[in-house]
């Protein structure tokens, strides 16, 4: 069974098709880099995968289940453009909240563990409002990984990260792949993404222009895929 399967998905905004007949799959343990210009539909597709919106036609499956089913959502970790943590609560309170929402048996212990793994133990009781940008990003990563998801959906995760946060995230992602987790990551930062990717898909104007394994040419020249399959 594929970890992530996209079967003939169309997404309409009004009558306008933002995604057209998208077919993609990621095997368990794969890291799929989703690339494409702004407006190609990467964020739209990722949000459908995460269960935030419904496709107009077609289906999406995460380990055989639809993302709108509760069981499936437990297996998904999502990092979008926003960090999805509350400014008015402390780092520890935020993670404990999400641990409870994800039914973890020992919420506070899990929260503390992930604060440590993202280097935020020192500021556990600090309000997120006062955090630096890099700290906020690391907390977002902690939130997404907290419940040990099998599938990680990341929307441009490396954008606007400082070096420390990039290093933390890459380390965690490599660890996740080593653990057999599946990653689908949309990105503009081709270099960082292609280092980790096992497969690449290029979205162009809502359609899949290319989908295949990562090749040495891609790593050597990140613009290769665009030049060969995209609009240049």
């Amino acid at each position: 069974m594929s970890a992530v399967a996209v079967e003939g998905v169309w997404k309409f905004f009004g009558d306008y098709p933002a995604l057209r007949d998208v077919k993609l799959a990621a095997a368990p343990g794969a890291c799929l880099a989703l690339i494409g210009r702004n407006g190609a539909g990467k964020t739209t597709l990722l949000r459908i995968l995460a269960g935030f919106s419904r496709p107009g036609r077609g289906e999406v499956r995460i380990f055989g289940g639809g993302p709108r089913e509760t069981e499936t959502r437990r297996r998904i970790g999502f990092i979008g453009h926003g960090i999805s943590v509350y400014d008015e609560l402390s780092a520890l309170e935020n993670l404990t909240l999400f641990a409870r929402l994800y039914h973890l048996p020992e919420p506070e212990r899990a929260a503390r563990e992930w604060l440590e793994r993202t280097g935020l133990t020192r500021v556990a009781d600090g309000l997120v409002r006062e955090f630096s940008r890099g700290m906020r990003q690391r907390l977002a990563v902690a939130r997404a990984f907290l419940h040990e998801p099998s599938v990680l959906l990341l929307d441009e995760p490396f954008t606007a990260l400082d070096d420390k946060a990039i290093a933390v995230l890459q380390g965690l992602l490599r660890g996740a792949l080593a653990d057999g987790k599946t990653i689908v990551m949309s990105t503009h930062q081709l270099r960082e993404a292609l280092e980790l990717a096992s497969d690449v898909a290029l979205l162009s104007r809502g359609q899949v222009a290319f989908h295949g394994p990562r090749t040495p040419e891609m790593v050597a020249d990140p613009g290769y895929v665009y030049a060969r399959y995209g609009e240049g």
Binding site: F12, F13, G14, D15, Y16, G39, G56, R205
Partner: protein, 189 residues
């Protein structure tokens, strides 16, 4: 001309308005089931037509009230509940304007249309109950009994007019959607 002849305008307009809102809520439920945008266009058009006729109903009531009772407004339960329902459906039209993205607008307005329609019988019951506590001159005073035939004609006429307006609005709505689509596709190429 006895002021009670306003009934020929007043009653059918109210009746057609309620029909319009019923069509709108049915279209809204169909939209939620099928996600087909034509049902959203139908719901919007039907609500607009309904509100036009409801406004006609209220205006007729005001004119009638002035002619028969020399005051612009009696808190007659029929006209008072018409006023509240007009406010409720006006909120629907405001919501339509406030949401820009067409699919989101259709979904939100379908939900709100259901809310508005459910409120209508509750409003009518509440206002009638309230009015029954302090009787007031009714709008319906001095309406002769022998008027069913002209009333039926008037209703049929209004119904035809409403159907025509609905068809026009639907045509406009569909054309607008095509235009929006063409514009949006043009922008991305």
């Amino acid at each position: 001309m006895p002021a009670a002849k306003m009934l020929f305008l007043y009653a059918p307009a109210g009746f057609v308005a309620v029909l319009g809102f019923a069509v709108a809520v049915a279209a809204s439920v169909l939209f939620l089931r099928t996600k087909a945008l034509r049902f959203d266009t139908l719901a919007a058009s039907a609500t607009e037509v309904g509100l036009i006729f409801l406004t006609a109903n209220i205006v007729a009531g005001v004119v009638w009230s002035r002619a028969a009772h020399a005051v612009w407004w009696t808190w007659d339960p029929a006209i008072a509940s018409a006023l509240v329902c007009a406010l409720v459906y006006a909120s629907y039209l405001m919501l339509r304007r406030a949401v820009e993205e067409p699919s989101q607008r259709a979904a939100f307005c379908a939900v709100w249309s259901i809310f508005c329609f459910l409120d209508t019988p509750i409003v009518i019951a509440a206002v009638y109950r309230w009015r029954s506590q302090h009787p007031h001159p009714a709008l319906w005073a001095d309406v002769p009994d022998a008027w069913p035939a002209p009333l039926a004609w008037s209703t049929a006429g209004m119904f035809a007019l409403a159907a025509l307006l609905l068809a026009v609005r639907l045509r406009q709505g569909t054309a607008r959607r095509e235009q929006d689509l063409r514009r949006r596709m043009g922008n991305t190429i």
